[in-house]
Symmetry: C2
Subunit: 318 residues, 2 copies
């Protein structure tokens, strides 16, 4: 892992735009690493962004998200569009750039240049997923993917927020009342634009649809009700209907202009996270090392007060 400078990042992006996948993979590894590397990758990609449309796809572990994503990729390819997937799963054994993991995920699309699937892991560094995801989307957008799926496990606040910030948010549940309840508890009810009852060939699927309808009718969500689609991702049943529901939602938010507001809010969140991460980094530097030890000694000896000391630690005046 070595730092990549701006010139190199620009060269990688150019290569990725020409279809070279290793270059794209390297750019996304820079994004995963965060900090200056993510900044370089994001800065070269940002002005080249077009209008990639993002689909957030989230749900409980085991709900069939990745099978559904693969089926969506096949559906999109039928129209000839290219599609990229960011698969974010903190419990995944595949860390960033894990070629094997992504190859397994690619499955039927492994030989198709129109599909790009990437697992993302951003353990430990500041801002983590909340910062890496929009920058990874920026890179995929600049490379020319018109569709980007952001697939997250629907547990954990950050994971839910990351998928929930997409243009269209798909929440996957399975037959069984408990699943709808869990989705509600995890805050998935508020973010869903489309509900999918996947594994709809199992017992209780119709009940789950009715449960969802009931919960939606009790909720006070503004605007049109989310669509509810039943799928069997493993055999492709209902995937066309899911794609229609996503397209309907896209049409609606484009026509009524709420897509502009959605994207604005996404940038607001990203800038707030970036402010917090930048300041947290400054805080770490301020309370670390010999300068801080000396400052503690001066306050203890009453040579200076804590407030003056902290101003000095943060603003670097000696």
């Amino acid at each position: 892992v070595t730092a990549v400078d701006a010139t190199e990042a620009a060269a990688l992006l150019q290569a990725a735009r020409e279809g070279r996948r290793p270059a794209l993979a390297r750019l996304l590894s820079m994004v995963e690493r965060g900090g200056d590397d993510a900044r370089e990758a994001g800065t070269v990609a940002h002005p080249l962004g077009g209008d990639a449309y993002t689909i957030g796809l989230t749900g409980a572990p085991g709900s069939g998200k990745s099978t559904l994503t693969t089926a969506l990729c096949a559906r999109v390819r039928r129209d000839g569009d290219r599609i990229a997937v960011l698969a974010i799963d903190p419990s995944s054994p595949f860390s960033g750039g894990a070629i094997l993991g992504d190859r397994v995920r690619m499955g039927e699309h492994a030989l198709d240049d129109g599909v790009f699937i990437r697992s993302m892991a951003t353990r430990g560094h500041l801002g983590g997923l909340a910062l890496a995801t929009p920058t990874a989307v920026r890179v995929l957008d600049a490379v020319g993917f018109p569709w980007v799926v952001i697939e997250t496990v629907g547990v954990g606040q950050v994971e839910v927020e990351v998928a929930g910030a997409a243009d269209t948010v798909v929440v996957v549940v399975n037959p069984g009342w408990g699943d709808a309840i869990q989705a509600n508890k995890a805050g998935l009810m508020e973010i869903a634009d489309v509900f999918v009852v996947n594994k709809a060939d199992r017992a209780g699927a119709a009940d789950t649809v009715r449960d969802l309808e009931g919960m939606l009718s009790l909720s006070d969500i503004e605007g049109p009700r989310p669509a509810i689609v039943s799928t069997v991702a493993t055999d492709g049943s209902g995937v066309d209907e899911l794609w229609e529901a996503i397209a309907d939602h896209r049409r609606r938010i484009t026509e009524d202009g709420t897509i502009v507001e959605r994207r604005r809010r996404r940038i607001e969140t990203e800038l707030s996270e970036l402010v917090a991460a930048t300041l947290a980094q400054r805080a770490r530097v301020a309370v670390d090392g010999a300068g801080f030890d000396a400052a503690v000694g001066e306050v203890a000896a009453r040579l200076t007060d804590p407030w003056t000391t902290v101003d000095r630690l943060l603003d670097g005046s000696a």
Copy 2:
């Protein structure tokens, strides 16, 4: 509530040092308000600090902390020393400067100029108790109290830490095995320099002493074992022994020099908290108002990238 400037703060401190209690109360209200007011009060007090010795006193709600504190005040007064108490209880109906609440607490000491009891509440502002407490101690120190008791409810991380940062930490439990277990869970075991089994006239007091001894013998705390003292705060039984245990601990940490390290760690914590609070304030300013809205618009329009924008928001260059 109006802001107080540095000259006023200095005048208030001078008056408080001459024994004027309303001036002292006003300074502590400034500390409670946090921000610039706390800074003014702390800055004038800091260089005038002497060597007030702090006693943290904590335990579950209802364990008799305030009665014990009152008894300790009486004990200290027998030696002619002055003593101040900061009573920190987030569930208390008495907010900062609540004259009635503090008068009730004063009780037998209401007419005694050598005892000062103050409830502290620091709802909502950044850093809260962790910043207000050392600054309040600083003010009481500058006013000339050689003893300051910091009384907190031993539930909640901040409350435990605030009492646990004192020179000598007294943990109050009551008869009954559950209480010792709870104290252990709440992290009180690690911070105790002296254990008090209060309400020791109740059934099970001897068992509780034995339980504490057992837990201490199983623990891997470094240094000498904490003393265990049994008291009945309501009739004063055992209070002399408690005072002796505190004095013993003071003697020991003064002789072996660990008091210097304790106070150094306290300042480290305070400076870290102040760094965090200062940066959090800067973050709030950065993401608020017209400048932020304009920045979001520029990023959305791809006129500038998020990183350049955040640098500009934080460092003010236009």
